[in-house]
């Protein structure tokens, strides 16, 4: 277990790089603790290409939340980023178990309010992890509502890549995954355990029927899917806010530029500030 701490002289915010104990090894985490903070926001990232593509936005969100006086924890799942563990063992269940370990750690910090942010597949993890705590507000960035489509999208990206670099067509992703027990999606390794673990997961079921406050943020300008998701959630009693923020993200492709996320960050921090002030730990 390792811990590094620095305190910003101007703001008094304490930043920590810390190994947290997870069920399958040490989890790499970054946290910020502003003086006098009452609320804590836990950020559940996605994995694979999404994890890398969205990392800078999550960094910006973490810093923006700390600047407005809220404590934040970001972490890497077992088998992802700088945490211990092997990618072969990464599953939806292992991601949820890691998030639960981080939430258990956050309980020891005695903040009066808690909110969770989930991005892409991390939205499913966030929803599953706080399923029994309807008082916890959830902010979901570009949530993966249907994991089967997430996997299909990865398969399409792989096909496009192989078409642009090879003269012959490659077999379908299902055939290749079955044959080699790993799929190369633009340099990200996708294993059967992860694909199978997402089989029966869906966001609506995980969110259940509660009066929870939820923010759903979509990247890009298309609002059709956003409105239909919001309607489905409202029908289940959830208090839903929505927003679309450009530009659209191409999740599996690396970019050297940093997308302008100012509107997304400011809308999310403002929503979280309002949501945690009205929802306290019971």
């Amino acid at each position: 277990m390792s811990l590094a701490v620095r305190v910003d002289e101007a703001t008094g915010v304490e930043e920590r790089l810390e190994h947290l104990a997870g069920p399958r090894g040490l989890l790499y985490s970054w946290s910020a603790r502003p003086p006098g903070a009452e609320a804590l926001v836990v950020i559940c990232s996605s994995v694979l290409g999404d994890f890398v593509s969205n990392y800078h936005r999550e960094r910006q969100l973490g810093r923006a939340l700390a600047a407005q006086g809220q404590a934040v924890i970001r972490f890497h799942y077992t088998g992802e980023g700088n945490s211990q563990g092997d990618r072969r063992d990464l599953t939806f269940e292992s991601m949820c178990a890691d998030a639960e370990a981080v939430l258990a750690h956050s309980d020891t910090l005695s903040y009066s309010s808690l909110a969770v942010v989930g991005t892409r597949v991390g939205a499913l993890v966030a929803a599953a992890t706080v399923a029994k705590s309807p008082w916890v507000p959830l902010a979901l960035w570009e949530p993966v509502t249907d994991p089967a489509r997430f996997i299909q999208e990865a398969g399409r990206v792989r096909k496009m890549s192989s078409l642009s670099h090879q003269s012959t067509a490659s077999p379908s992703w299902r055939e290749e995954l079955a044959k080699h027990q790993v799929l190369d999606i633009l340099g990200y390794d996708l294993y059967p355990a992860f694909v199978e673990s997402l089989g029966n997961v869906d966001l609506l079921t995980l969110l259940g029927i509660t009066s929870r406050k939820v923010l759903v943020a979509r990247f890009g300008t298309a609002t059709d899917s956003l409105e239909s998701l919001a309607a489905a959630l409202r029908a289940r009693g959830l208090e839903v806010s929505t927003g679309s923020f450009g530009p659209q993200e191409s999740w599996w492709l690396d970019k050297e530029t940093v997308a302008d996320s100012e509107n997304l960050i400011s809308a999310t921090t403002a929503w979280l500030k309002g949501a945690v002030s009205s929802e306290r730990r019971p």
Partner: protein
């Protein structure tokens, strides 16, 4: 487990950087600094390649430090777009200084892309460097310039149409466009801009007897590097002899966008580090 990892914040010019020191269970006394490309990514990089590399070389006894540049990951500050004229030299030097403060004086560098360019720029200020691996190191122009040179006229026409006068108000933007146009023009008339920074830095490292591995794939900056080899650099590298060498691989190494290229990197770096350590025992080791 053959290693443990220590998390750290360390000071750089006006900010604090975040890093992870991988400590092998049986150390050989050498630390490998891992400066990577310039994207705003986690220090683990794509598909954890930097994490996996750090842990693989720890099995051979090497310490390593992977870190976030200023404004990236868990480091302090604002993200700065990489340009050839403004490499992250200060961040690389700050990392080496911190390592020395930890008592790790025997240093090697394994750097990729813009991290390699930044390391080349920092190298003259690093004493006692014992080896350097430069993967897909830019030679005279960055990705945008290299790509722009090979874009078809249709692409250029589309971008000229989109160009707004407001974009040309900043001197930085004007310089950027000037470099893109100059890169394309150079490609047409087959005249390459004279830029001696890369060759001069490599020559100096060879003069200082620092073992080098220059690795290029089938993509990225390979054409620019081959052009330098055709001039005088090829002869200089050949004269240096093993373990200094160039390595051309058929894989695409830009961004390590295939699992095969990632595995190749880990195998290549691991065996080259072993080769260097076994060929050139450090004077302090001989004394002991």
């Amino acid at each position: 487990m053959t290693y443990e990892e220590q998390l750290a914040f360390f000071p750089a010019e006006g900010s604090n950087l975040a890093g992870i020191l991988t400590v092998p269970s049986t150390p050989n006394g050498i630390v490998v600094l891992l400066p990577w490309g310039a994207g705003a990514y986690p220090s683990s990089a794509r598909n954890r390649i930097r994490t996996r590399l750090a842990r693989a070389i720890a099995e051979r006894g090497f310490y390593s430090l992977r870190f976030d540049y200023e404004g990236v990951g868990e480091s302090e500050g604002e993200y700065r777009v990489a340009t050839m004229g403004n490499p992250y030299t200060g961040d690389v030097l700050a990392a080496t200084k911190w390592l020395r403060n930890q008592g790790l004086d025997r240093l090697m560098i394994v750097a990729n892309c813009f991290g390699a360019w930044s390391s080349l720029s920092a190298a003259p200020l690093i004493t006692g460097l014992e080896g350097m691996v430069l993967v897909n190191c830019p030679v005279r122009r960055d990705h945008r310039e290299a790509n722009a040179a090979h874009r078809p006229w249709r692409w250029w026409l589309r971008h000229v149409r989109r160009l707004r006068i407001s974009k040309l108000r900043s001197a930085q933007s004007r310089a950027r466009y000037r470099r893109l146009v100059s890169s394309k023009a150079g490609e047409i008339v087959r005249i390459r801009q004279k830029d001696v920074r890369f060759t001069r830095a490599i020559n100096q490292l060879i003069a200082d007897r620092v073992p080098l591995l220059l690795m290029y794939g089938s993509d990225g900056f390979r054409p620019d590097f081959e052009a330098e080899l055709d001039r005088e650099l090829g002869a200089v590298l050949q004269a240096a002899g093993p373990p200094t060498r160039t390595l051309f691989v058929t894989e695409r190494v830009e961004g390590f966008a295939t699992l095969a290229s990632q595995n190749l990197l880990i195998e290549t770096v691991t065996s080259w580090l072993d080769e260097v350590v076994n060929r050139t025992p450090h004077p302090t080791e001989q004394a002991s």
